[in-house]
Symmetry: C2
Subunit: 669 residues, 2 copies
C-alpha cells in the first residue's frame, strides 16, 4: 500500500506560509485521536487479548465521502495492518485493535477522499429521483479507468476485473447494476485513486499481559512466617503458607526487600533510633557486607531456597513480586565501590536522606546525575532488576519512584521489556496527581493510589469515575491496596470487622487490581496513637500471626477473589458507572463488560456500625429496557437468585451480617 | 539568556531508547500547556490589550524547587520576554501575556531546578529547628561560586556583587542573613546555574484587535434602502441610514455581495426558477459581463460612491463588512478567462452546484485543486480580498467556508494579515461541530453559531457553557446572529414582539459578538409556510421598510448595545456562569470580568406569552461573601437601584413589559 503523504505539519507554519506550501497541506483534518498520551510521546496502555478501541474525528471540506482506516503494526515488525474504521456519525470514527501478545504497537489513522463513494451516493440519489444519469455513468466509468491507469501493482487485478465487468455491461440497467453494486463500491474503496490521501503521525500502544490489569496481591514479610518472634522466618517457611494464600485467590505474592540489612544506625522497634543486637532492622535499609540489591539476606535462606520458592509459588498459581527500593544503608557495598554514585558534603561525609529538618541516618540515596553515575549507576540498577528477572521474578513493586528521575524509569522499563515484555512494574508513589499519572505514562504497569484516603460516597464515586476518564483511563491502572506496612487506614481503627469487609469489597469490586498486606485478614488495626501507622510495625520487628484467629475474614476474601475470577466485568477498574441509591452511606455502582454480557451491581454500605436502607435504581436503561421491565438477579456472595420487577428497588444492609451486596443481573431471556 | 536544552523529544522513542539518550532526556515534565490548539499546530486566540492567561503543569522528581518562566515574543521580533510564572499549588503554574497590538505571538514554558531555592528552603527549616548549619552554609557558598564560574556575561555583575557581599559577611548571623535574604534568593533564581534547564516547544497565539471579540453587526441589502421597490437602492441611499444605525449602537455594517449579478438562470421572487426582466436577482449569483468579485453591481453606484460610503461609515463609528462568497454565476468572467479553475463534465458542459438530486443552475463553483487552479485561483481569490482591503474594507463575512479547503483559508487569512493584521474574518459555516471549531483554528476571527436553534434553558445554558470551555474557548468566537436573510427562526414566527426582545437579550448578553439582519427591529417574521425562511425574501427582491413602524424595538436594541459598551463583562462570551433560578423558563446567568469589578446578572424569560416567577440565588459566594450578606443592585435597562439582602431572592418577569432583567451588582463598600 502506498502512503502518499504524511501529516508531518506538526509545527505552526508561522511566517513561512507560502501558497506553494498551502496547496500541499492536508485537506483532510484528523483530530482527537484516542487513546493518545502527551501527543504520542508516551504509549497508551492495552492488554493482550482485549480490545483497545481507537477513535478519531476525521472530516474535510464539502460533502465528499471519506474512507478512513486504522493502521497498526507491532513495533518489531514492519508490516502494517489496515482496518476500515466504522463511521459513528458527526465526523467520529472508530476501530478496535485486539493484540494477541504483549509488546509495543504503533497505530495511525489514514484517510482519503473516496471519489467512487461520492459518485455512488450521487448516482443513487439521482437514479431514485428519476433524474437523467447518462453523463454520470460516463463519469463513473472514468473513475474506474483512471484508477486502473494509476494503480499500484497489488490492485491491478481487481481493477482489470472491474473494467471487464463494466465493458460487458451494455444495457443501461446492466450498467446501473454494475455501478451501484456494493462489490464495486468496496473494490473501488481499496483500489480507487486515494485522493488527498493523508496519514496521521503514529501513536504508541503498550500491550501487557492480563496480570497487569487483573491481579490480587498478597504482601508479607518472609521473616514473620514463623511461630516465634525469636526465630527468623525463611523462604522455606513461606513455602508452607503458599496453599492458604493460593486458596484465598491471590495471584501475586509480594515481599518487602529481601536483601541484606545494614547495621549502621539500624532502627529498633517502632522506628526507634536505637536497636538492640537482636533487632532485625528495617529491610528498607538495604546493603551490608553480605551484599547489596542483588543479594539475599542470609537469614531468609539461600539463592536456591529462593529459586525453589519461585517454582513452588508458580505451582500454586502465584507469581513473586519483589520490592525495588533504590536506597542504600550506610553499609551498602556500592558506597565504597562507587563513591561517585553518591552525593558528598563539603566535610567529606556522605549525604543522608533528609526531609528537613529530619535526617534519616540509616539511609543514603544514590545521585542519578553525578558525573560518575551517568550511565554506570543506571546500568547497574538495570542489571539488578534484570538479575531478579532471570531468577524468575516477573513483578516489581518500586519504592518511591517519584523521587527518581522520570527518564530513568522510561529507559529502565523499556529496556527490561525489550526481552521480557511479561515484566510488570507497580509504582509505589504517593504524591501529587500529575506525577502519579506521569509514572504510568513512562511505563509503569500499575500504581498505588489515593484509595486508602477515599472514604465517603462522594469521594469514592468521584475517584472511581475520574480513573475511568482520560488521561487516567489511558495511562494508569490503579492497584487498590487496602493496607500496607506504611498505611494503617484511619477508617479501620474503630470500624471493627465490618470495616475490613467494607474496604475489601471496595477494593476488589473497584479495580481489577487490589492488594492486601498480611494481618488485614485478621482485622489488625492497632495504630501508633494518632497516626495511620501500625503499632509495633513489622518493618522493625518479626511478627508471627495466627491467621485462624476468631473474627478473621479469610472466607469472605476468598469469595471476593473467586467472584472476580468468574466475572470479567470485575477484572478492570474500567466500565465503572455510579448509579442512584438514595442514601449517602451507600455507594452503589455497576461494572460491566462492553458487550453487557457480564453486568455486576455492587452496593456497599460505608457505615460499619448501623443498618442502612435505600431505594435504588435498577439500570434497566443500560439494556434498552423500559422502566417496568424485569431482570434476573443473583447474589454472588450467597448464590441466591430472584427476579427484580421495575426500575425502583429497595435494599437494607446490615453490616453485622454483610456490609455489601454483589449482584449479577441478566435480562430475562 | 541561554537556552540549554530544547524539549524536542516529541516522538515516541520506541526501539531507539538507549541509556545515552535517556540520560539527556528532560528531567522536568512540562504538561497541559494552555491555551494550545492541536498540539500547537494552530494559534489560540487573543485580543490586544487583554490578558491571555497561560498555564501549565510543571514538575520533577523529588522535592527540589523549580523555577518556571513564561517566555514569549512577537513573531516578527526575535526578542524573547521572560516572565516568572506564579505557582498555584499542585504543580500548576500560570502567567499572563497582555499583548499591546494585533499580530502573532509565540510563547513557551521554560523550567529548571532552582538549586539555590532548594538550599534556601532547607537552610531556613534547619535554622528554625535549631539544627547545626555550618556545612549548609559552605554548600550555599559553593552554589554561588559555581554560578559565578559558569555565568553568562549578563549575570557576571550580579554574581560578583553577591560574592562581595558574601565575603564581607563574616559572623554567623551576618552570613545567615545574607543567605536567607530574599534578594539573594531572587538574584540566584536568575543568575544561578539552571540545572536541568528545559524549554517546551513554542505555541502560537494570534492577537486580534478588540473588534474581533466585541462588535455589534447590522446587516442590510443596500438595494433595499429605498422608499419604493421599483427603485434600486444605492450606496448613496445607505449613507442616509448611517446615523440611525450608529445611534442604535452598531459597530459593523455588513452587506451581502455587492458585485454584478448574473442573468443566466436568474432566480425570481421566493427562489422561483423564472425571473422577469425587472427582478433584481440574488446577489449570491456573482458575476456578469460587468465584472466579477472585484467589481461593483452598477445599480448600487460607482467605486467612488463605495469609497465615500466607507469614509462616512467610519465617521459614524461604523466599519464596513463585505460578503466573500466564492461561487460564480454562469456569467462570471472567470469562466471564459480561466476555464481551468472549474470542473467540466464529459459532454463539455460546466459542472453546476448540486445537492443531489437538486441542481443549482444559477451557480457554479470553482475547483481549488484543478491543475490550472493551483495556485493561480488561490492567488486570484486572495487578490480579490486584498483589493477590498485596500478600498477600506476591514471585515469579511465568508459564505460557506466549510465547503472550501481548510488549507486555503489558513493560507489566505495569514497572507492577508501579514500586512493587515486588523482584518477580521467571520465564518458563515452551519455544519458539524468539528468543522466549526477547525475554521476558528485555521484563522477565522469569529463564527456563526447554533444560537438560532438553541431555545430552551437547558440548550442555552449548555451551549453558552460549552463555548467557555476548551477547545471552543481558545479557537472560536461566537457571533450570535438573531436572524439572517437565510434564517427566520421558528421561535419568532409566533412569539410577537416579546420574542424579539428575548432573542435580542440572549444574543447581546450571551456574547461580545452579535448580529441583526434588518427587519428584526420591526419584528418581521412572516415565513415561507413550514420553513424557517422569510416570505418574499430580500435575497430575490427589493424590500423597502418603515423602521419607525409601531411596535419596533429600536429603543430596546439601542439600550442593549449601550449597556454592552459600558460593561466590559459583556464584551465577550467568556466569563459566563449559569446560576440557579427555580424555573425552567428563566435562563439566569452571570457575566463578569476576571477581577469581578464588572459583574452583571442576566435573567431572561424564555416564555414570550406568560409571566414567569422564580426564586433565585444571588451569587454572594463569588465575592467571598456569606449567605446573609447584602449587595447593591442596579437595573441597567431602567437605571433603578436597590440593595439585595441575602442569597435567596425572588423575581417576576412579565414579557409584555420587558421579558428580561439585566442587573449590575456590587459589594457594599
Amino acid at each position: 500500500m502506498s502512503l502518499s503523504r504524511s501529516n508531518n505539519h506538526s509545527e505552526y507554519p508561522a511566517l513561512g506560509l507560502s501558497v506553494e506550501d498551502a496547496v500541499t497541506y492536508p485537506r483532510i483534518a484528523i483530530e482527537s485521536v484516542a487513546p493518545v498520551l502527551e501527543e504520542g510521546r508516551f504509549a497508551a496502555k492495552g492488554v493482550e487479548g482485549q480490545r483497545t478501541m481507537v477513535s478519531a474525528v476525521v472530516f474535510t471540506d464539502g460533502h465528499d465521502k471519506l474512507a478512513v482506516n486504522l493502521r497498526w503494526r507491532r513495533l518489531n515488525d514492519e508490516t502494517w495492518h489496515a482496518v476500515p474504521m466504522e463511521f459513528l456519525g458527526n465526523d467520529h470514527w472508530q476501530a478496535p485493535i485486539r493484540p494477541e501478545q504483549p509488546g509495543k504497537i504503533l497505530y495511525a489513522i489514514e484517510a482519503w477522499r473516496d471519489l467512487y463513494a461520492s459518485f455512488y451516493d450521487e448516482l443513487e440519489k439521482k437514479y431514485r429521483a428519476g433524474v437523467p444519469i447518462t453523463l454520470e455513468l460516463q463519469e463513473g466509468e472514468q473513475l474506474i479507468r483512471d484508477a486502473a491507469q494509476a494503480a499500484q501493482p497489488e490492485y491491478a487485478v481487481v481493477l482489470e476485473q472491474l473494467i471487464t465487468q463494466m465493458d460487458e455491461a451494455h444495457a443501461l440497467d446492466q450498467r446501473l447494476a454494475f455501478f451501484l453494486a456494493p462489490e464495486t463500491l468496496a473494490s473501488m474503496r481499496e483500489a480507487g485513486i486515494r485522493s488527498h490521501h493523508q496519514i496521521s503521525r503514529s501513536y504508541p500502544l503498550e500491550v501487557e499481559r492480563q496480570l497487569a490489569q487483573f491481579a490480587s496481591w498478597y504482601e508479607l514479610f518472609p521473616r514473620s512466617v514463623t511461630s516465634d518472634s525469636s526465630r527468623h522466618g525463611t523462604f522455606r517457611d513461606v513455602m508452607g503458607r503458599l496453599p492458604e494464600i493460593s486458596r484465598m485467590g491471590f495471584d501475586v505474592l509480594y515481599f518487602p526487600p529481601i536483601h541484606p540489612i545494614g547495621r549502621t544506625h539500624r532502627k529498633g522497634p517502632n522506628n526507634s533510633l536505637i536497636a538492640s543486637e537482636s533487632d532485625p532492622g528495617s529491610p528498607y535499609a538495604i546493603g551490608s557486607p553480605e551484599g547489596g540489591h542483588e543479594a539475599i539476606h542470609p537469614e531468609l535462606g539461600s539463592l536456591d531456597d529462593f529459586l525453589e520458592l519461585v517454582r513452588q509459588s508458580r505451582a500454586h498459581g502465584l507469581e513473586i513480586a519483589l520490592d525495588f527500593a533504590i536506597q542504600c544503608s550506610p553499609d551498602h557495598p556500592w558506597i565504597e565501590e562507587h563513591p561517585g554514585w553518591f552525593s558528598w558534603r563539603p566535610d567529606g561525609s556522605i549525604r543522608h536522606a533528609e526531609n528537613p529538618p529530619k535526617k534519616y541516618e540509616d539511609i543514603v540515596n544514590v545521585d542519578f546525575y553525578q558525573k560518575d553515575a551517568v550511565p554506570d549507576l543506571w546500568l547497574a540498577l538495570r542489571d539488578v532488576v534484570l538479575g531478579w528477572v532471570e531468577r524468575g521474578v516477573t513483578l516489581f513493586r518500586v519504592d518511591n519512584p517519584h523521587t527518581k528521575p522520570l527518564p530513568f524509569w522510561e529507559w529502565l522499563i523499556a529496556d527490561i521489556r525489550k526481552d521480557h515484555p511479561e515484566v510488570i512494574f507497580l509504582a509505589e508513589a504517593f504524591t501529587k496527581p500529575a506525577m502519579m499519572a506521569r509514572l504510568g505514562k513512562v511505563g509503569y504497569s500499575q500504581s498505588y493510589t489515593y484509595f486508602t484516603w477515599r472514604n465517603t460516597k462522594y469521594e469514592l464515586e468521584s475517584y472511581f469515575t475520574e480513573l475511568n476518564q482520560p488521561p487516567w483511563r489511558d495511562c494508569y491502572r490503579p492497584n487498590f491496596f487496602v493496607n500496607t506496612p506504611d498505611i494503617n487506614p484511619q477508617f479501620l481503627h474503630h470500624s471493627g470487622r465490618p470495616g475490613f469487609l467494607i474496604r475489601a469489597a471496595l477494593a476488589t469490586m473497584g479495580s481489577g487490581l487490589w492488594g492486601m498486606y498480611s494481618g488485614f485478614e485478621i482485622c489488625e488495626s492497632a495504630p501508633v496513637p494518632g497516626k495511620e501507622e501500625y503499632l509495633d510495625s513489622e518493618k522493625y520487628e518479626i511478627r508471627p500471626r495466627d491467621f485462624n484467629a476468631p473474627g478473621n475474614i479469610v472466607a469472605e476474601i476468598s469469595r471476593l477473589n473467586l467472584i472476580r475470577r468468574q466475572n470479567p466485568g470485575l477484572q478492570t477498574h474500567l466500565g465503572f458507572q455510579g448509579y442512584t441509591a438514595w442514601n449517602d452511606n451507600i455507594l452503589y455502582f455497576g461494572k460491566r463488560t462492553k458487550d453487557l454480557s457480564n453486568f455486576i451491581l455492587v452496593a456497599i454500605s460505608l457505615d460499619p456500625h448501623n443498618a442502612q436502607e435505600a431505594h435504588f435504581d435498577l439500570p434497566l436503561w443500560e439494556f434498552g429496557l423500559p422502566d417496568d421491565a424485569h431482570m434476573h438477579g443473583e447474589d454472588l456472595m450467597t448464590g441466591h437468585t430472584w427476579t427484580w420487577y421495575g426500575k425502583t428497588q429497595w435494599m437494607r444492609i446490615e453490616p453485622w451480617h454483610m456490609p455489601f451486596g454483589i449482584w449479577r443481573i441478566r435480562p430475562v431471556a
